[in-house]
Amino acid sequence: MVDVPYEATVDVPPAEVAEVELYHPKSWWTQYVFSQDAKVIAIQYSLTATAIGLVALVLSWLMRLQLGFPGTFSFIDASQYLQFITMHGMIMVIYLLTALFLGGFGNYLIPLMVGARDMVFPYVNMLSYWVYLLAVIVLASTFFVPGGPTGAGWTLYPPQAILSGTPGQDWGIILMLSSLILFIIGFTMGGLNYVVTVLQARTRGMTLMRLPLTVWGIFTATIMALLAFPALFVASVMMLFDRLLGTSFFMPALVEMGQQMKYGGGSPILFQHLFWFFGHPEVYIVALPAFGIVSDLISTHARKNIFGYRMMVWAIVAIGALSFIVWAHHMYVSGMHPHFGFFFATTTLIIAIPTAIKVYNWVLTLWRGDIHLTVPMLFALGFIITFVNGGLTGLFLGNVVVDVPLSDTMFVVAHFHMVMGVAPIMVVLGAIYHWYPKVTGRMLDDWMGKFHFWVTFLGAYLIFFPMHYLGLLGVPRRYHDIGEAAFITPSVHTLNAFMSVVALIVGLAQMVFLFNLVWSYFKGRPSGGNPWRATTLEWQTPETPPGHGNWGKELPVVYRWAYDYSVPGAKEDFIPQNQPPTTRAIQGAAT
């Protein structure tokens, strides 16, 4: 029945993966603080990312207060507004989403899902977290240094980023660049672990095509991040040189406030190339883990295998590869050679095809399923809507000539918030509701969860959907106050005020979520080992939460793919990956 030829002579590795010297904590300190256990590191990553993410949430409130009610709040001026947007963007994209998906979910789920005892280099993994923490501390410290954090926008475009017309020109920008460099070093340490663990420490029977899509997503994203982050590293180092040593990598001859500067000859566009060579893959570094996780959420809660698993895997790989040759679509109006527009518009729109396939396969998974509208499933549905919306507006901005009027307007802001803000956050939240029982042994409260979902989803949609139309009208981004202009009607201010009020409500709903996290930890309903009746390995651990070394004495052996839900003739509507087959009856039942 297997219609794919293969050679049966390939070496089958020994039943036990070569015994890794498992690290054993000796004291409270090494168990909970300087721990080398991937699960503890995952929780450390997640808590740190959430903490700094809360700062970014508060910043977004302040921004919305200013935008909705300009001039009302004397404690927000133009410079501070720019500092808020910069820190909000940088924190959300890098220090929250990247760290949470790869450092948090990656660390927790990869070893469990591939059936490993731990990451392959636990010590390096621990270092990764501590360097990340240092990066976060350096970043947060910019709030307290003279001049405050940098206000250059999260893209940090030179020459503006290091000149005195921009807030945070002395300490802010230097610490920001240093923090990014630290983050990249820390991430590289972690990333090596995730990649090698997937390649190396898969348990017996776990072929690549038996991996859950979550692992595929995180794995591909990590490879991309490892290759793309050096671009940000190089750009940061070069800008630090320009700022501290007076070199002119990015700095042309210029006059600042009537003063001739000693720079000369550099190219600001060079920075943009380097930045977006990192920046575009970064979008997918956040999106691919979300794609993977949401596939597993939908499949589990619809009690149905993910539709078109192979296409899903190929699409992840294709998106990962293509995302390295689309970077200049962020630069259509940057003044680069206009002929690049043809190439980059074409590659950008081509990437829409594998992405669309993924969307189709998610909704086709729902078709004739047995859809349990649990909180994780609701978040998955919310993800599909926001992602489809944000993905489609991406077709506007990727199509070079359409981007000309829309670039640098609120349309762009609305687009990327929808597609890489709200959509991945939906997945993060859904995933937390999904895996919290595994991490703590207790269920999150369902009522609070549903309340949290509806307020967050509908609220976020109400903020960002109308925002596109402000951009269409022509409202530029990064304006603390749109001020007087003939095309700005009073209704623009009304809409802004409305979005601000909704933003406050959505933000407050997250407090309910945080309360739920704490409350359920102590009072939640005990979940048992596999509350969602899921097939993947992490739900089959002998203990919940999984103990040190994950699997007790013996590693699990995998006999099937990760999506055996509702198999005809099976007793239950799910068959765990490590359950040995009884018959091989179902072969050929499908296709």
Binding site: A253, F307, L349, L395, H480
Partner: protein, 277 residues
């Protein structure tokens, strides 16, 4: 049930919002109607896909939500369906990309009869320059910038002497004449942005960028800066006034050339010096 209805409402609501939105692009003032058309095509295609996907999803939630005894259908994949969907998507993408690239080709092909004008951005104001009687603009360099010569024109370049320098923050353009807008910055990135023109481009210190357009209607338009340029980014404003040819010439007559301006400041300086002695 409720969930399915809300999901459907989101889709329907989005479409209705789109139709009845009071926020829509400003009335166009240049020849770039093609850009608006391309946006419209994109709206139609993406709108249809958006509605179809969400409505289908809502239907699935309505029809297949969990009930006692329901069992999901076992269906790992359907090659044919997936291929058809991919091909359909590719066609849709092509239908957006092709007109886009076609219009982009026009966008970057400047007609030969376009007059050059120059816009210079600096923190946080705009300056403009028109070629003088000789129809050519003189060379510039950031190193020449001084309080007397804020646009950094080369004093030794004969072409620059009759250039018209406008620092009042009010630029006039004749209607119906194609213009190539040369963009220059002396300090940081700026972006010459007039929503009604549709076209825009970053101004990058150290290089000259451009776009072209033909104004098609008269009026006064706000100039904004669309690329973050520092603390007063939002206050960097100017006006462009598109008017009939005769009005334009009347305005042009009153403007000072570079030679007149520098002569005047040279005179003032001389007086000051002699006064000091």
């Amino acid at each position: 049930m409720v969930v399915a209805i809300i999901l459907l409402l989101v889709a329907v609501g989005s479409v209705l919002f789109h139709i009845y939105s009071p926020w829509w692009w400003t009335p166009i003032a240049t020849n770039w109607r093609y850009i608006d058309d391309t946006i419209n095509i994109t709206f139609w295609i993406t709108g249809a896909v958006f509605f179809a996907v969400i409505a289908f999803m809502a239907y699935c939630v309505f029809r297949f939500h969990h009930k006692e005894g329901r069992q999901a259908h076992y269906n790992p994949e359907n090659k044919k369906l997936e291929w058809w969907l991919s091909i359909g998507t590719a066609i849709g993408v092509g239908a957006m990309l092709a007109p886009g690239l076609f219009v982009w080709q026009q966008f970057i092909t400047v007609p030969a009869n376009a007059t050059e004008i120059e816009v210079m951005g600096q923190q946080w104001q705009w300056a403009f320059r028109l070629p003088g009687k000789d129809g050519r603009m003189g060379t510039t360099d950031v190193r020449h910038i001084s309080p007397e010569n804020p646009m950094g024109l080369n004093r030794d370049d004969p072409h620059g002497q009759d250039d018209v320098v406008i620092e009042s923050g009010e630029m006039h353009l004749p209607v119906g004449k194609p213009v190539k807008v040369l963009l220059r910055s002396v300090d940081v990135l700026h972006d010459f942005y007039v929503p009604e023109f549709r076209a825009k481009m970053d101004m990058v210190p150290g290089m000259v960028t451009y776009f072209w357009m033909t104004p098609i209607r008269t009026g006064t338009f706000d100039v904004l800066c669309a690329e973050l340029c520092g603390a007063a980014h939002a206050q960097m404003r100017a006006k462009v006034i598109v008017e009939e040819e005769s009005d334009y010439h009347a305005w042009l007559e009153q403007q000072k050339t570079f030679a007149e301006l520098s002569g005047r400041s040279a005179v003032t300086k001389a007086t000051y010096r002699s006064g000091g002695k």
